[in-house]
Amino acid sequence: MAPISQDGITRREFVTRVGATAALMAGSVIAARSLWQPNHFVPGFEKQRGLQLPSYALALDKLLPSMAIAHGEAHEGTIRAAIGALGGMGRFIKRGDVVMIKPNVAFDRPPALAATTHPDALRAVAKLVFEAGASKIIVADNPINSPAGCFLKSGLTAVASEMNLELMYPALKHFSPLQLDGEILKNWTFFHEPFKNANKVIGLSPCKDHNLCHASMTTKNWYGLLGGRRNQFHQHIHSIVSDFPLMMKPTLVILDGINVLMSNGPTGGRLSDVKRMSTIVAGTDMVAVDSYGYTHLLERNLDELTYLHKATERNLGNCNWKDSFYKEVQA
């Protein structure tokens, strides 16, 4: 350290000290900035705007159906028939599109138990999307259980590898705060990374019984994008599921009703819980698609499926599926 003169400090010493102080302050600011968790909401403490997903939906085409019901035995043929009835995948996917496919891979169950999106369904949809000219397909879900195990045991890892799909497992850095004016969903951490580069979104879900909300279909499927301790929403399950059509405006949803988990959902575990219904429903209105699924695939009374009625009341879809322009075809 330079000696201090009896008259005060030297100019050099002054500049050095001011520089050191400024550097320390700048370092503190940088450190504070890096330590700050922008994704962390403290209700009542700080007003913060989170992300709001853009709409991936296409403009309504009154000349083409908004919902298609296809009956058939094999996934590929039946999905192809359903999408064909909607006007073909080319209506939804353009050349060069990056498509995010959201399957339901909530559990590490084998495909035969119908608790997860069937690998044949993913393969069929991916094939159609690539045929329409998509440049890339991202497949992502946020299972509470080990994502790697869920994707592997449900058979989707093999399909992703075979079809050259980008499989995205959730990591902490992949989540961003979501801001929504939902009934329940206001601020919550969301699996955002798969959507950063995607310009089209397709929901691909199985049709299954659910212990808490009666049924898990294309609307409930988006629950798998929430992060955090999302089980706390189980107390208001119908309300939060009815928020999903507000949160997500997908390009297309596809409900796989080839094999339906009729009981002991959402996990199942027995082949006797599964009933072959040989149907695929595709459409742009997830509420309409699910209302068909609930009444015709799960064979239940729509009156009890509160979340679809809530969504309809909020003009987020129409649970009276017969009101929509639909087409029923045989594969």
């Binding site: 350290m1 000696p3 201090i4 009896q6 008259d7 005060g8 400090i9 450190a31 330590l35 909530a106 559990f107 590490d108 169950r109 084998p110 035969a112 138990l113 509470i144 259980n145 195990g149 045991k153 093999a158 902490l172 659910h210 212990n211 808490l212 909300c213 898990s216 089980n231 189980h234 399950i237 002991n264 959902g265 959402p266 996990t267 575990g269 027995r270 082949l271 006797s272 819980d273």
Partner: protein, 405 residues
């Protein structure tokens, strides 16, 4: 003072500020303090980044050493070595490494498995006792043709949703305590596997309750355990406090064979405990329709006094007869029967029937349905919702005379 005079302000009221030299030691202390503060900050950041829900959980695994019979240090070392080797080696021989038995409430149950070898720190040989399972004990099963595909997973009632999500409340309703599960790969069939799920409940009754709730009406009864059945891809049974699910990934013969071997292994190794299931054991077996047994914890038949009731259906004289039974203290059973009798009198038509071997019986027409209800000692039971009350009465009389055990 001389210094102040020397640094006299140049004019007016200006003061000169004099900084004395800072000793090297003080600078060093400052640097050390700053480093410590920075280190604390970094530590807080790193530790606080993720909330660990298990942070304040009791580490019951630390009680391992106290939960097993101590028979010598060499035994402990051998067992420890076995854990390490078993988890990594490929199984080539048909050898079962029994897991540590599950917790048991009744002393009788704990001694029943006493002779079992325990490959994870337990004991073997004469006088060996079962030791309670504690959190963290891996599910080590060695069978020819399979090997562990993943480590053993453990869940408690609070974080069960992390494994089965929306299904967990159904298990919590029956007071599930823990889930231990593991996947085993079929070595000869790439991609094939078998999942083993062991849900431990607070009582055998609750384990049976959950088992009954999920029971597959089309399931076929197993030949190795009473409360069990199998379907096209899995085996499901209750053993003691544990509800076991063995689920195969496919219907390949090799996969199914291994799944069955795993089921038999678990049925053999888990400790028996039927405490609270006395009513279940009283159910007559003749004419019992397989997989029709269920459990009603309370308010059976709309009666507050009818608790822990078992219900089963019987095929009798060409008729399906629903039958219920409750085991209680004699005075409680007698009181419940009397209250049930009074209830039926108030809301329907009751006829007192002749006693059979000291059992009191009444039949009732209630809300368009027929019942025949009896009590003998600490046993209360009856048939209900029968279309032909005479057949219901005949069934009860046969049973009370010991003709359809």
């Amino acid at each position: 003072m001389a210094l102040l005079q020397k640094n006299k302000p140049p004019g007016g009221n200006r003061h000169s500020f004099v900084r004395t030299p800072i000793p090297v030691s003080e600078n060093l202390i400052c640097v050390v303090l700053l480093v410590i503060i920075a280190a604390i900050g970094v530590a807080i950041f790193l530790k606080g980044r993720h909330f660990d829900p298990d942070r304040f959980n009791v580490k019951v695994s630390s009680l391992n050493s106290t939960s097993s019979s101590v028979v010598g240090k060499s035994q402990t070392i051998a067992a420890t070595t076995e854990i390490e080797s078993d988890s990594t080696k490929d199984s080539t021989k048909s050898q079962t490494t029994p897991p540590r038995p599950m917790p048991t409430e009744s002393p009788a149950a704990s001694t029943e498995t006493g002779g079992a070898t325990d490959g994870e720190g337990g004991v073997e040989g004469v006088g060996a006792r079962s030791t309670p399972m504690v959190k963290g004990e891996p599910l080590e099963i060695v069978l020819e043709g399979m090997k562990p595909m993943s480590p053993t997973e453990f869940y408690n009632a609070d974080n069960l949703y992390e494994k089965i999500d929306g299904r967990s409340p159904a298990y919590q309703n029956f007071h599930v305590q823990a889930l231990r599960c593991r996947t085993f790969a079929v070595t000869s069939l790439p991609g094939s596997f078998v999942d083993v799920y062991e849900y431990t409940f607070d009582s055998a009754v609750d384990a049976f309750g959950m088992f009954s709730l999920e029971r597959d009406p089309k399931g076929k009864p197993t030949d190795f355990i009473a409360d069990g059945y199998y379907g096209d891809m899995g085996w499901f049974f209750r053993r003691g406090l544990v509800y076991v699910q063995i689920i195969a990934s496919d219907q390949n013969l090799q996969t199914i064979t291994l799944a069955e071997a795993l089921a038999r292994n678990r049925a053999r190794e888990l400790p028996e405990n039927d405490h609270g299931l006395e009513g279940r054991l009283m159910l007559p077996t003749k004419g019992l329709i397989p997989q029709s047994v269920s459990f009603i914890p309370d308010n059976a038949q709309g009666q507050a006094e009818l608790r822990d009731v078992f219900v089963a259906a019987y095929s009798f004289d060409g008729e399906r007869i629903p039958f219920f039974i409750m085991a209680a203290k004699p005075d409680e059973a007698s009181r419940a029967w009397k209250l049930f009798h009074d209830f039926c009198m108030r809301f329907g038509k009751v006829e007192d029937l002749p006693d059979v071997k000291g059992s009191k019986i009444f039949s009732a027409q209630l809300f368009g349905k027929s019942k025949v209800v009896y009590v003998r000692g600490g046993e209360l039971g009856g048939v209900f919702d029968v279309s032909d009350v005479n057949k219901g009465q005949a069934f009860i009389e046969h049973y009370l005379r010991g003709e359809n055990k």
